[in-house]
């Protein structure tokens, strides 16, 4: 008997007594494992010089992207940051296309034109990863506004980091979302650090996102972002609230990145004990233990884990087999006519 038969499935499936339905938990577990395996592989490929430029890993933060991803419906919109691999995977975007984008190959999600910081798949309603801190909060509002005007019931979920809470666009976006009563959920992944500077050294309040929400009359919650069950539950209710016309809300999820900010940064500026404490709170083993406690046979989890690694291997192979994008793409798609011509 599988989880799937025990309880009706679907995004927004019930959370009973704070515990999500088993199929949702398994889906979240699978997503997190795939994210972890994918990003570890991406890091290896970076060290091998196959992923070029930069890449920002969400290792350790998977529960946020997975918990929200599982709670969203296919028609909902995601807006993410440069640290957006997990959020892109959470929408069902094929691994191979993401990996190929990181490697600058023709198979890439944007044929290499965007790169790791700009993962976008409109088909999956992954509306973009944005590399200028703060901007995408304002753009997410636009999608939510459009959903509201078009009366579609779509919800927009917008992820950002703790450091983002000190830039002007954050302020403008939250105020507008509140005043326009938009169907949007703002999700701050508070991993305590900006690049190499701790958020507490540059912010006068304890919770850089949630403590600002009252300034916009916005409802907010602070949750354990490493507890996938908690994230899924809060995601479900925030999304449901937005969908049913209850307006915007903000979730501050406390979490931690296992590695450095980007590229090969070892993250050594962080105190050893802080890192150790958070590694001990890794969201993936935590959920694994709980699933076992809940009676899920270990074989089931091992199967997920093995399938994940196989999927990452396959994606890597496909990406590596893809050629560099053709030079002709340089002057393609600046404009909607497909070209780059600015003259006549």
């Amino acid at each position: 008997m599988t989880a799937r038969t025990e309880q009706p499935s679907g995004a927004g499936a019930a959370v009973a007594n704070g515990v999500p339905a088993l199929d949702a938990r398994l889906r979240v577990y699978q997503m997190m494992v795939e994210m972890r395996d994918f990003e570890k592989r991406a890091y290896d490929l970076f060290l091998q010089g196959l992923v070029k430029g930069t890449s920002h890993l969400g290792l350790g933060q998977e529960a946020v992207a997975a918990g929200f991803g599982a709670a969203m419906r296919p028609e909902d919109y995601t807006f993410a940051t440069y640290r957006g691999h997990n959020h892109t995977l959470a929408r069902g975007v094929p691994m191979a296309r993401i990996m190929a984008e990181l490697m600058g190959r023709e198979l890439g999600l944007m044929a290499g034109k965007g790169g790791s910081m700009h993962l976008t798949s409109v088909e999956h309603r992954m509306m973009g990863s944005y590399a200028i801190v703060g901007a995408h909060l304002t753009i997410a509002n636009g999608a939510a506004w459009s959903s509201k005007l078009r009366g579609t019931g779509e919800v927009t979920v917008c992820f950002f980091g703790d450091g983002t809470t000190n830039i002007g666009a954050f302020h403008e976006a939250l105020n507008l979302a509140a005043v326009w009563h938009l169907p949007v959920v703002f999700v701050c992944e508070n991993n305590r650090w900006m690049e190499y500077t701790p958020i507490r050294s540059v912010t006068a309040v304890d919770h850089p996102a949630a403590d600002r929400a009252p300034a916009y009359g916005l409802s907010a919650s602070v949750v354990d972002g490493n507890d996938a069950d908690v994230v899924y539950s809060v995601a479900t209710s925030a999304i449901e609230r937005a969908r049913s016309g209850g307006g915007p809300s903000l979730v501050e999820a406390e979490t931690y990145r296992h590695g450095g900010h980007s590229r090969a940064d070892p993250g050594k500026y962080r105190p050893d004990d802080e890192v150790a404490a958070w590694l001990a709170r890794d969201p993936i083993p935590a959920l694994r233990h709980r699933l076992l406690d809940a009676g899920v046979p270990e074989a089931r989890l091992v199967a997920i884990e093995q399938a994940s690694l196989a999927a990452v291997d396959e994606a890597t192979a496909q990406a590596q087999a893809s050629p560099a994008p053709p030079r002709s793409l340089v002057e393609r798609d600046v404009f909607a006519d497909g070209g780059a011509s600015w003259r006549r």
Binding site: G114, H118, V122, T138, G142, A143, A336, G338, R343
Partner: protein, 324 residues
């Protein structure tokens, strides 16, 4: 055919498009109930209601972000940035987000949106409310840039901009809002990227934009009275740029004079001059002269502002320098 002001032409174009296409929405500061600080959008709130005509907080980044997100997901927003100087507070959304997203996503995203803005000087508002910044926009790949000089062009080019699938920055010259011109009745839609030849002469080619067009025409009159017949071209849009019309004319006249309101360095005049100097050098019989505001912020006092901006004397002088 009716005579109307440049300012009224704005509202007419928006109304025309909102009537035809329910996905067109309009947002900005004081654009609805007040009808815009330049009274260019009077009546739209009454006609289309507060769902489609939206007064916003003073949050230019949020305004343009909302326009972008809405354009990505099926609407055709028109956003107003009250004075074009304020593009500086939301330049990230314009230059880094709106301009680049289609390209970065390999064409996945369409951004059919228009950003209208009051541009330019001559109204004694001082350096932070008088800039001509169409050159800022032209320098950023991914934006279309339009700047009409007549009420008729306002209607036709604004309608075309709203229908365009790409992001268009639409510059309305503040000094022209109260000017009048004939506008045909009925639906009007023009085409982006076609310059107008307003006057055909063989001595030299003057190219002007927006508020400088009437001054260029006046200079042409003065030159004509001295027996010098010049061509005057109204560029109308900077992206797409109608190089063909300019180059064809220069091939005939041998002389190019550009007239820009913006400060001197790196304006559209420089771009046009260097295109001609690269592609049509041997057509030239004299130096390419750029008449511009000097490279200074615009002063507020009437005497100083008038002294700073290109005027008929400076344009006539510029033509003479090219002919000398």
């Amino acid at each position: 055919m009716a005579e109307m002001t440049y300012r009224d032409a704005v509202a007419r174009a928006i109304a025309q498009e909102m009537r035809l296409d329910p996905s067109v929405v309009f947002l900005g500061e004081d654009v609805g109930a007040a009808g815009g600080v330049f009274k260019a959008t009077v009546g739209l709130l009454d006609s289309f209601g507060p769902t489609r005509v939206v007064d916003t907080p003073i949050s230019e980044q949020a305004i343009l972000g909302a326009a972008m997100g809405a354009a990505m997901t099926g609407l055709r927003p028109i956003a107003e940035i009250m004075f074009s100087d304020f593009f500086a507070v939301c330049w990230d959304i314009v230059a880094n987000e709106i301009a680049k997203t289609r390209y970065m996503t390999n064409g996945q995203v369409r951004l059919p949106l228009v950003i209208r803005s009051g541009n330019g000087g001559g109204v004694r508002f001082g350096a932070q409310h008088s800039q001509s910044v169409e050159n800022w926009a032209m320098a950023v790949p991914g934006l279309k840039v339009v700047a009409p000089s007549t009420p008729k062009d306002v209607v036709g080019l604004l309608a075309a901009s709203i229908r365009d699938t790409d992001p268009v920055l639409f510059f309305e010259q503040k000094s022209l809002y109260s000017t009048k011109g004939e506008v045909p009745d009925g639906e009007i839609v023009d085409e982006l990227g076609r310059a107008s030849m307003l006057r055909d002469g063989t001595a030299a080619t003057i190219v002007a934009l927006a508020g400088m067009v009437p001054r260029a025409m006046a200079a042409a009159d003065q030159l004509a009275s001295e027996g010098i017949d010049v061509t005057v071209i109204d560029l109308r849009s900077l992206v797409p740029l109608d190089v063909t019309t300019v180059a064809t004319s220069v091939a005939q006249t041998g002389h190019l004079v550009t007239v820009e309101e913006n400060p001197r360095l790196c304006g559209w005049g420089a771009e046009l001059a260097s295109i001609i100097a690269e592609e049509n050098l041997f057509d030239l019989d004299g130096p390419i002269v750029r008449v511009t505001t000097p490279h200074v912020p615009l002063p507020a006092a009437d005497a100083l502002e008038d002294a700073a901006m290109p005027d008929v004397t400076k344009i006539v002088d510029g033509v003479r320098r090219s002919l000398r």
